[in-house]
């Protein structure tokens, strides 16, 4: 029992530290958020103001914007810790590194993913989405954005210390994001067309469970390799 408690303490320590760092340097949250807002605002300007068309592209457009916004800060997820040596100390902690990594991924989601979920209704209104569809959109983002952080962490860890890592992360991570994008945007779309979103959402949930089990482990393996 005390061991379990120590593990939770370590998890929250990693989470707290990253949140504290974000509080000290607020630009990081705002970058992802601004990017999301700007892309989703520019799209109607580029495509045209017809409400029918906008409603049709809304789920896909917002999901792609969320995906790219997540990608934007991904490369920095471990880079700072790697550069200042704190990652080394985390790897030498008596607590499992995967627990600390899970804490960091949670922090990344709270900073980059959750704000997008909360902002989605406002953007949804821009695209003239009906209220209940906005609810489904928020739900799909709520399940899907942690998935983006979890999968992205693997890519961020793998490219640590590699040349041109910012571009490399996108190349590695984007193919892995395909199922998330399909189920996430698909949920909203099939709800709008009257097919119901339950199937998509439960598959998204299954992927999330799989990623929670698998991603911290793979990320840890990648981090240990990059520390060598």
């Amino acid at each position: 029992m005390p061991q379990l408690f120590a593990m939770f303490a370590a998890y929250f320590a990693a989470l707290n530290r990253d949140l504290l760092l974000v509080m000290r340097r607020k630009t990081e949250v705002l970058t992802a958020l601004f990017f999301f807002v700007i892309v989703t605002t520019l799209l109607p300007l580029g495509i045209g103001p017809e409400p029918d068309l906008l409603r049709k592209i809304a789920p896909g457009a917002m999901w792609i914007a969320a995906l790219l916004a997540t990608l934007l800060g991904l490369q920095r997820l471990f880079a700072a810790d790697h550069a200042d040596g704190t990652l080394e100390q985390m790897a030498l902690s008596p607590e499992p590194l995967s627990i600390l990594v899970a804490g960091k991924i949670t922090a990344h989601w709270l900073v980059c993913g959750l704000p997008l979920v909360l902002l989605a209704p406002v953007i949804g209104l821009q695209f003239d989405l009906p209220t209940d569809a906005i609810g489904i959109l928020m739900l799909s983002l709520l399940i899907g954005t942690p998935l983006l952080s979890l999968i992205g962490a693997i890519g961020a860890a793998l490219t640590l210390g590699a040349r041109g890592s910012a571009l490399l992360v996108s190349l590695l991570v984007l193919p892995l994001y395909v199922p998330t994008l399909i189920f996430g945007a698909g949920a909203v779309e099939s709800y709008i067309t009257g097919l119901g979103a339950a199937g998509h959402l439960s598959l998204l949930g299954a992927l999330l469970v799989l990623a929670i089990a698998f991603s911290p482990w793979a990320t840890t393996a990648a981090l240990r390799i990059s520390l060598e």
């Binding site: 303490a9 000290r24 080394e88």
Partner: protein, 208 residues
Amino acid sequence: MLVASNLSCIRGTQTLFTDLSVQLNSGQWLYLQGENGAGKTSLLRILAGLTLPAAGSVTWHGAPISKQRSIYHTDMLYLGHHASLKEDLTLTENLRSLMAMDGLTVSDAAIQDALTRMGLARRQHLPARVLSAGQKRRGLLARLLLRAAKLWILDEPFNALDTNAITNLQESLRTHLHHGGMIILTSHQTPDLGAGATGFVLNLSGSR
């Protein structure tokens, strides 16, 4: 206690050392010598369990360190080249989060005490970014006092320290050895670890 046998290390296409064996018992120190690029840091990282050796094994109390990571990392503390401090956090916050991520809770009083002993009492609430290199180094060394680790692995601990701080640190090292601790370190200058403790000097430059 700590036994490394037949270690070899390859960096890129270059072989830094082969068939290197070391044993360290309670109350003993190991001082690594060698020019830049001879593999001192690589050896330290292998002994700390950060890097896998190309061949050979490291055991702690008879079991390989990779098999008992949690136990070994409780007993061992490694301080590397890096400051290992977050620039935006104060020294107290830095130490507190490092300790918490090690699964240990320490009181703020204990942190304050350790920082005071390192001569940083008045700097404890400043963000690390405004501190000098030596002050950061001392802030990190305060971890030695907070963690009850048996084995200290220190990469150039005297770097950037002034004479006063060097004397201070040497005193800490001597006390640690006196209480049965173990120390492995690299340094440009030969450290004075007291006549009472036994130790070895390992010269790495001969391997090329």
